[in-house]
């Protein structure tokens, strides 16, 4: 490895270990990137083709106006949750085990929101007029309708995206400075110099940054909770059976934390394996993450049962027909798979420490959980619309290849942005790891062995 002699002091091994992916690119990276680019490009071309052809190329028809596109939207917004939310909670709680994971989680939030935010546009009938929703000044004095949950969505998602972006960038600045000092080629040097914002590491700078991170963490928490609550209101504010329920706010937030945690674990395991960072991300961290996931799983199951029990017991005819098609009709397999993935398999498995600490078992389990969570979103959006209103208009819904392509699109796009990010920024927060190592260190003073730094 040819690295410029470090200009910064500190543990050179950590710097080199974590900066390695920034300066060395293997053929595997190119293969993965190419694969994702292909999937992303194919999805993008499909989208553009659909814009030209019209929405009839999808499986949507009256009264099923929201299908896979909206399921994808809710799913990707949900995935975004755990990143910023968990990172902010753990920072505020001063949980030291968070250190190697936060950066990956925060980046996940930004990229999943970027993918999610495209779906409301994808499913519009006239995408080219999407800006009508934005309250901009115009000579016709037309404004958006602030009573509409879709207008709230726009504001919530944009706020969340900008907040998460700053929250991702701010703690990366000192790491960009380290990358700047290690960079050898002029292009990289210039890039990291720009990104580091002239960081020198003075006491004042550290103080200000820590304060800013703390404030952002406090501010971003309510935004994170509100985003998925507002997404749930897209459904809960509607006068449709199974949607019109007050439990949707907390239910969506918990589902989001659940699926987001599952994705964090999947990514953590894969990154740990790909970059051989076993020293930094240990089974101890996976165990902690899995415990949060277990709590989310139990709470999610509780709320799901609460919602189900009340509608089943209420026996409103409109609601009953929808419960019936989930319990025994065309959506039976969807619901069964969802319950298997999210509750019946996940909760007992996560209860064992053996599973919680073995990376590969966790990876397969978390992927299964996210399959279940996608189905959950599909089950919220579609069955209601299939049998809503007068029975004369009841119908069925089956997605076409367009919807399949548009489901591959965000996956490929997300992984593509993620692998690009690996090359752009230190993927584990170097300064936070070093801070932890220093704090964990002991010094001998005479006969006594004391911690080097005493936390407040």
């Amino acid at each position: 490895m040819k690295l410029h002699p470090p200009l910064v002091h500190g543990d050179d091994k950590i710097n080199r270990d974590i900066l390695r992916p920034l300066f060395e690119t293997s053929w595997r990276w190119w293969a993965l990137f190419g694969l994702c680019l292909t999937g992303f490009g194919a999805g993008f071309v499909t989208w553009m083709w659909m814009l030209g052809a019209g929405m009839w190329v999808t499986g949507l028809h009256r009264p099923v106006m929201w299908g896979v596109f909206i399921a994808n939207f809710v799913f990707w917004v949900g995935l975004s949750h755990s990143g910023t939310l968990i990172s902010a909670i753990l920072r505020l709680a001063k949980a030291d085990w968070r250190r190697p994971i936060t950066r990956a989680a925060e980046a996940m939030t930004v990229f999943t929101v970027l993918m999610a935010a495209q779906f409301p546009l994808i499913h519009l009938g006239r995408t080219w007029f999407f800006y009508y929703i934005i309250p901009y000044v115009n000579q016709r004095e037309m404004w958006g309708n602030f009573r509409s949950p879709l207008a709230w969505d726009l504001m919530a998602i944009l706020t969340y995206l900008s907040g998460s972006l700053i929250y991702l960038y701010l703690p990366t600045v000192p790491d960009f400075a380290i990358a700047r000092d290690y960079a050898t080629t002029p292009v990289r040097k210039k890039l990291f110099t720009m990104l580091a914002l002239g960081w020198r590491g003075t006491r004042k700078e550290w103080h200000r940054m820590n304060l800013a991170i703390l404030m952002l963490a406090v501010l971003v928490l309510p935004v994170a909770v509100s985003v998925h609550t507002i997404v749930s209101w897209d459904f809960a504010m509607a006068l449709a059976p199974q949607w019109h329920t007050t439990i949707f706010g907390p239910y969506f937030v918990l589902g989001a934390i659940y699926s987001g945690m599952a994705l964090v674990v999947t990514l953590t395991v894969l990154i740990r394996w790909a970059f051989k960072w076993e020293d930094y991300i240990t089974p101890f961290h996976l165990d902690k993450l899995s415990k949060i996931m277990l709590v989310a799983a139990i709470l999610w199951t509780y709320l799901w049962c609460g919602d189900y029990l009340i509608t089943w017991y209420g026996r409103l005819p409109e609601e009953k027909v929808i419960i019936d098609i989930k319990n025994g009709g065309p959506f039976f397999w969807h619901q069964l798979t969802m319950m298997l993935a999210n509750t019946i398999v996940a909760i007992p498995m996560l209860a064992f420490k053996k599973v919680r600490t073995s990376p590969w078992a966790l990876m397969f389990l978390t992927i299964f959980i996210n399959v279940g969570m996608w189905l959950e979103r599909y089950l919220i959006a579609v069955p209601t619309l299939v049998q809503k209103g007068p029975s004369y208009t009841w119908t069925t819904y089956s997605p076409t290849w367009v919807e399949l392509m548009m489901s591959i699109y965000p996956f490929a796009g997300f992984v593509m942005l993620y692998v690009l990010f690996v090359k752009m920024a230190p993927f584990i927060s170097i300064w936070e790891i070093r801070e932890d190592r220093v704090a964990e260190a002991y010094k001998t003073m005479g006969q006594a062995k004391l911690r080097a730094i005493v936390a407040e």
């Binding site: 519009l124 009938g125 006239r126 009508y132 309708n145 207008a151 509607a238």
Partner: protein, 263 residues
């Protein structure tokens, strides 16, 4: 659904004896318009012939859908005649329910539109602004009657030559990607109301007829001003047979259905 409609029907019967009797002609609060358009549909008279559907298609430039698109649920029928069977052969009865936009006073489709493409006019119509619509399709999801329609295809595909020659010049041809629905033939209302205003008078009862009401040979559909206590529709709506679709949802439609005798 049939059960549900009978239930609402019975509920309306019970309520008809009480204070709800005069509610039909109650002014639309805050509107400040002398008009409140409404409709009554006498189900006891309906034969299910479908003339209203055809008239609506011809009047309002509804896109033409072939058998495949209709089968896929992509046809546009602002007016439809729902048919429900009751009993088993040979003791079987057909019920016909002509359903169009109910122009609800508390329309669930209106608040969910993020761009005000659908809104309530002072005359109590549920208006639709095609130019403003961006096609979120949320209004149809929130519409309990499923009477809103999305334009899946280009207008040129909907009206291949020479069919474009039969289009009604008073009605917009909708472009792809916007929602549409029954307007209570708003172009006819505007036409007559403008003349009346020029002559310094109010629109008289019977001056305006919607295409469906005009074409109905059994006089099922009556259209008129609900604020005028002497109009035909106000008298029809005062009947003890009246009920409204899915009344329990509180959407307050201005389309009143009449049903009393056995079909």
């Amino acid at each position: 659904m049939a059960d549900l409609m009978t239930a609402t029907h019975e509920a309306a019967h019970g309520a008809a004896h009480g204070a709800a009797q005069g509610a039909a002609a109650a002014p639309y609060e805050g509107a400040g318009s002398p008009y409140r358009w409404g409709m009554s549909v006498d189900l006891d008279r309906c034969t299910g012939c479908g003339a209203c559907v055809v008239a609506c298609h011809a009047e309002n430039n509804l896109p033409i859908a072939g058998p495949i698109d209709t089968d896929e649920g992509r046809s546009v029928d602002w007016m439809r005649v729902e048919r429900y069977w009751e009993g088993h052969y040979p003791e079987i009865t057909a019920h016909f329910v002509p359903v169009m936009c109910q122009h609800c006073t508390n329309a669930p489709c209106e608040p969910v539109c993020p761009v005000f493409a659908t809104y309530h006019t002072p005359e109590g119509l549920n208006g639709m602004v095609y130019n403003r619509c961006i096609g979120t399709q949320y209004c149809q999801n929130n519409d309990p009657y499923n009477v809103r329609f999305f334009n899946w295809f280009e207008a040129a595909l909907n009206f291949p030559e020479p069919l474009a020659n039969q289009l009604n010049p008073d009605v917009t041809v909708r472009s792809r990607g916007v929602m549409e629905k029954c307007t209570f033939c708003v172009h006819r209302i505007r036409d007559v109301a403008a003349d009346a205003k020029a002559e310094g008078r109010l629109v008289e009862d019977g001056e305006i007829d919607t295409a469906c009401a005009q074409s109905c040979s059994a006089n099922v559909i009556t259209f008129g001003n609900l604020l005028d206590p002497h109009s035909k529709v106000s008298k029809a709506v005062a009947s003890a047979r009246r009920f409204r679709l899915l009344e329990g949802l509180g959407t307050e439609p201005v389309v009143y259905y009449l049903k009393g005798g056995q079909a």
